[in-house]
């Protein structure tokens, strides 16, 4: 079957077997090996990507189901050489050790923060329940997501980017 998908801003058209999993399409056909496979029962979440703005486990989506869709992977969230705030927070808080779960964990954390911009510890822990990590014991991941929530909250950006009454066009 022929599919057309946009992955990390680039559009691809490919003929794929109907049974091809999205994660294998990303890894084997597009070379997007930043997204990894950690289990075969959709428990570990290592393969988490965003499909049309929401997190999905790409081992549980067929490539053909993503036809016409927009996919974002761990390789597509940085901008102009700058890390996404969640990536930065994982680094700042030592929220990864071996790093294998990290791409999925970061993609799920971004999704979690979209649902809960100001999450408490239990909301973070439950929001990441579908992503397994064997190295960190999760404590620094929880801390990282909390830091990311702070840096991503409205008005938390750098001074230069702040829209004040003077700079705003049109105003209130």
């Amino acid at each position: 079957m022929r599919i057309t998908v946009t992955v990390d801003g680039t559009t691809y058209t490919d003929d794929v077997e109907p049974r091809l999993l999205l994660v294998h399409y990303l890894r084997e056909r597009l070379g997007k090996v930043g997204t990894v496979v950690g289990c075969d029962t959709s428990n570990c979440g290592a393969c988490t990507v965003h499909l049309n703005g929401h997190s999905v486990k790409s081992c549980s989506v067929l490539a053909v189901q993503a036809d016409g869709g927009e996919i974002t992977t761990i390789e597509g969230i940085g901008r102009d050489g700058t890390l996404h705030p969640v990536q930065q927070a994982f680094h700042d808080n030592h929220a990864l050790q071996c790093g294998f779960c990290t791409p999925g964990m970061i993609m799920q954390s971004i999704d979690l923060l979209a649902d809960h911009p100001d999450p408490d510890e239990q909301q973070i822990r439950h929001g990441l329940e579908g992503n397994l990590c064997r190295c960190t014991g999760y404590q620094n991941i929880v801390r990282a997501v909390r830091q990311a929530a702070d840096t991503m909250r409205p008005g938390a950006g750098p001074e230069a980017e702040r829209i004040t009454a003077q700079h705003a066009v049109g105003g209130e």
């Binding site: 990894v36 822990r125 990441l128 329940e129 064997r134 960190t136 014991g137 404590q139």
Partner: protein
């Protein structure tokens, strides 16, 4: 040139490793492709014990995209036997261990045939087309039954299911008294039986292997902890010349001992790539990993502890059965022996006897898993100290204080003959008790008991130590281990003053790039950023003993320190020559050679450039600062700490909730507190997982019923609490940095703290043990008087397809 003014050691440096890992620019083995690469899939035995009567590969051979199909008979002449490097006794029984089963399978999940195809999907399709006939043999699963007269045999050729019995006796060794006498003379005897359930290491990256036979050397990329040992073992097992093999461990996604192995999959991939003369890749699925990669723990522990009424322990007798599974893998037989020296823990026991019998069963082979022998030992003794305290009616911490080695008694020679170089159990305990509010929690516990609260509070203690940093080669030799315990390092000074550090340690998540950079920055006085760490490839880091047993910092980084010292020694006469002084007049600090009492100085970077130019060197001095060192420590390292856990146990449902977890660890001098804290967190999670969640369960036919992450209960973020971690710092006196290992400490310490807390919460209801994992069902049964004494072998308590539950500890 800039030099570092402040010390790097002790700084919470963010990790160098992260930049690639958080952006997906990773080199996991399964990410790699080379031209012409083929894919392999493995057919595994669905039965635990059977004769293979027929393998029909004809349909698979004609399946689309298939280049070759091999069964065991096809590789039998060249596959040899997988290595076991630890023959613990001269008469140890070890069956041949084929990588691909030839005429018999001995555990469910054993490899039976392989398909090599153009794509992984085509290989998987064709594997399903292989037809194998099995003739069932009796399945041996229970260790006690396996040792009984007339038992069915896993390996009939051996005539027994007993592999070996290994004994240590303090009276015989001259390191202590006679245990039987101590028991006979004692005022109190406590006897208990504990079961160490079987666990799955469950590294997040499934194992993957890529073999490329097309270059001058056969190159193997493998998700392994041990590229150097693997290369040697491939050479010795397969008869391939060592210099024609190169092994690379690229990014490796966790190991926890589970990748400390020479695997059937590595050997098979190697053989088929060589035979086809094409690169071949194999990546296991998670369920293959859980079934076929080695398991951990699985012991039955019978303990007898004798004491006086004042709480002084007079002797300890340990009798173990250790499940080897179906084969002896790389260090399988030695794992319980690593625990033999730790049952006496931090205590001054005058008499000790240890005997371990290793038993074959038709299960996945066991081998190292985080802690390897020491968690089992620590669990047993810390549970026993609580049981002794209950017997005496005194506080469990008080019993420990009466028996532990006092700070002023170090260095201390134990009843096992080990010399603990340093420790301060009082300081760690005092700090932990304060952070925990031990007295306040005891008061609350009393109130809840008084009020007959349905939710009872329990306090659990674990005052642990462990031996790690493997280790003195002579000691390993005395234990019949097949190799030494040294580590190698090399330092290359580049002309621009940058530094390449080659290490034989092989990190897979530990953060060596960062920690080694900090160590070298201090030693050479060069900026942290100017240092590159090279590891995990037998071509670029040619010598090493790899990473396991919390050995990398205490052995590997010390080799780096020694190599740095040689760089400075080489630079000294050159600096003296350039500064026109005697080497005796020079001092080296913060990267600068300074003529004592003057401003006259030159930097190590300037000397590196001068050496490169080599225009003006003293006569007879070679134009190189590059140096290497191999370090073999004189002793193990002995981290210790006090872990305290408070659990709330719902007596109506059996649910356990960890309310607080406090640990104060003493891992000596800390190179990077951020990394140390991360190691402790992860270690705690794995130890708590053993106490509450995880268990590899086989049904009566020997099928592993917990072979997926839906069934094997790896804790999620929702299952674990936040921990309070702190430290005391008593430097090791064995190595020049004063460091001790930290990788396994959290796992070793935490399991008994949690189980002690569970038992403590319900002891007043007549419970003196709950078998691990302490699931709601087991706890409820214990409270309600059904098999609460540790003899419950129910297989229905863990797993069961529920995946992660959120009703557990939070």
């Amino acid at each position: 040139m800039t030099t570092t003014a402040e010390h790097e050691i002790g700084k919470a440096r963010l990790r160098k490793e992260d930049a690639r890992l958080i952006t997906g620019r990773t080199r996991w083995t399964d990410n790699l492709t080379v031209p012409g690469m083929l894919h392999m899939a493995i057919l595994r035995s669905p039965v635990a014990h059977a004769t293979i009567t027929r393998v029909d590969t004809s349909a698979a051979r004609t399946s689309p995209g298939v280049l070759a199909v091999y069964a065991g008979a096809d590789l039998a002449d060249e596959q040899g036997s997988l290595p076991c490097a630890w023959p613990i006794t001269p008469d140890m029984k070890a069956p041949p261990a084929p990588s691909l089963a030839v005429d018999r399978v001995n555990f469910a999940g054993e490899a039976v045939a392989v398909v090599i195809a153009r794509t992984a999907y085509e290989a998987a399709d064709a594997v399903n087309a292989i037809d194998v006939d099995y003739e069932d043999l009796p399945v041996v699963l229970d260790m006690r039954a396996a040792l009984a007269d007339g038992a069915d045999l896993v390996h009939p050729d051996l005539g027994t299911n007993k592999s070996a019995t290994w004994v240590f006796d303090s009276a015989a060794a001259g390191t202590g008294g006679d245990v039987e006498q101590a028991i006979a003379d004692s005022e109190i005897v406590v006897r208990r039986t504990f079961r160490q359930q079987r666990l799955v290491p469950a590294f997040m990256e499934p194992r993957s292997i890529l073999v490329d036979p097309t270059g001058p050397q056969l190159t193997m990329w493998s998700a392994t902890q041990i590229p150097h040992i693997l290369r040697l073992m491939l050479a010795m097992t397969l008869g391939v010349p060592e210099h024609k093999v190169r092994v690379i461990a690229p990014d490796v996604g966790g190991g926890f001992g589970g990748k400390l192995q020479v695997t059937p999959e590595e050997v098979i991939t190697f053989l088929v790539a060589r035979r086809l003369d094409r690169p071949v890749k194999y990546t296991e699925s998670r369920s293959e990993s859980v079934q076929a990669a080695h398991h951990g723990r699985d012991q039955i522990q019978e303990l007898t502890l004798s004491a006086r009424k004042d709480g002084t322990v007079t002797g300890l007798k340990v009798e173990l059965l250790a499940d080897m599974g179906a084969y002896l893998r790389l260090v399988t037989p030695g794992v319980p022996i690593l625990g033999a020296f730790m049952f006496n823990a931090i205590y001054k026991f005058p008499a000790y006897h240890f005997a371990c019998t290793n038993v074959f069963t038709n299960k996945t082979p066991t081998d190292a898993y985080r802690g390897a022998g020491r968690p089992e030992a620590t669990f047993a003794i810390e549970r026993m100290m609580d049981e002794l305290a209950a017997e005496l009616g005194v506080d469990p911490m008080e019993v420990r204080r009466r028996n532990w080695i006092r700070h002023e008694e170090f260095p201390f020679t134990t009843v096992c003959g080990l010399v603990y170089d340093s420790g301060n159990y009082e300081a760690a305990t005092d700090k932990a008790m304060e952070l925990f509010d031990y007295a306040g929690l005891r008061a609350e516990q009393a109130r809840r008991r008084e009020a007959n609260d349905p939710v009872q509070l329990g306090l659990g203690i674990s005052t642990f130590t462990e031996m790690c940093g493997l280790a003195p080669s002579r000691v390993l030799g005395s234990l019949s281990y097949g190799a030494g315990g040294w580590e190698h390092a090399a330092i290359r000074m580049l002309p621009t003053g940058k530094v390449e550090v080659v290490t034989g340690s092989s990190a897979h998540g530990q953060g060596h790039d960062t920690a080694w950079s900090q160590v070298v920055a201090d030693q050479l006085g060069v900026p942290f950023e100017d240092i590159e760490i090279i590891h995990g490839d037998t071509m670029s880091s040619p010598k090493g003993m790899d990473t396991y047993g919390s050995r990398s910092l205490t052995v590997g980084a010390i080799a780096v320190v020694k190599a740095a010292g040689k760089v400075i020694d080489k630079a000294m006469p050159i600096a003296a020559h350039l500064l026109e002084c005697s080497p005796d007049d020079l001092e080296f600090a913060d990267g600068k050679f300074t003529v004592r009492g003057t401003e006259s100085a030159t930097s190590i970077q300037d000397i590196a450039l001068a050496v490169f130019a080599a225009h003006d060197l003293p006569d007879g001095v070679e134009p190189s600062l590059d140096s290497e060192a191999t370090y073999d420590p004189d002793n193990f390292s002995f981290p210790h700490g006090t872990h305290l856990c408070a659990t709330e146990v719902d007596t109506e449902t059996g649910a356990v909730r960890i309310r607080s977890y406090i640990c104060v660890d003493d891992v000596g001098v800390v190179v990077n507190p951020l990394i140390v804290e991360g190691q402790v967190h992860g270690g705690l999670a794995q130890g708590i997982a053993q106490a509450l969640f995880e268990e590899a369960i086989h049904d009566d036919a020997g099928t592993l019923t917990t072979a997926t992450f839906a069934d094997y209960l790896l804790p999620s973020a929702a299952d674990l609490p936040s921990f309070t971690t702190d430290r005391t710092e008593t430097p090791s006196t064995t190595n020049p940095l004063g460091v001790k290992g930290v990788g396994e400490a959290g796992t070793i310490a935490s399991t008994p703290a949690v189980v002690n807390a569970v038992v403590d919460a319900i002891r007043h209801l007549g419970v003196n043990d709950v078998e691990m994992p302490c699931t709601p069902m087991r706890v409820w049964r214990a409270i309600n008087g059904r098999s609460g004494d540790g003899t419950d072998n129910s297989t229905s308590a863990a797993g069961g397809g529920l995946g992660s539950i959120s009703g557990g500890a939070q």
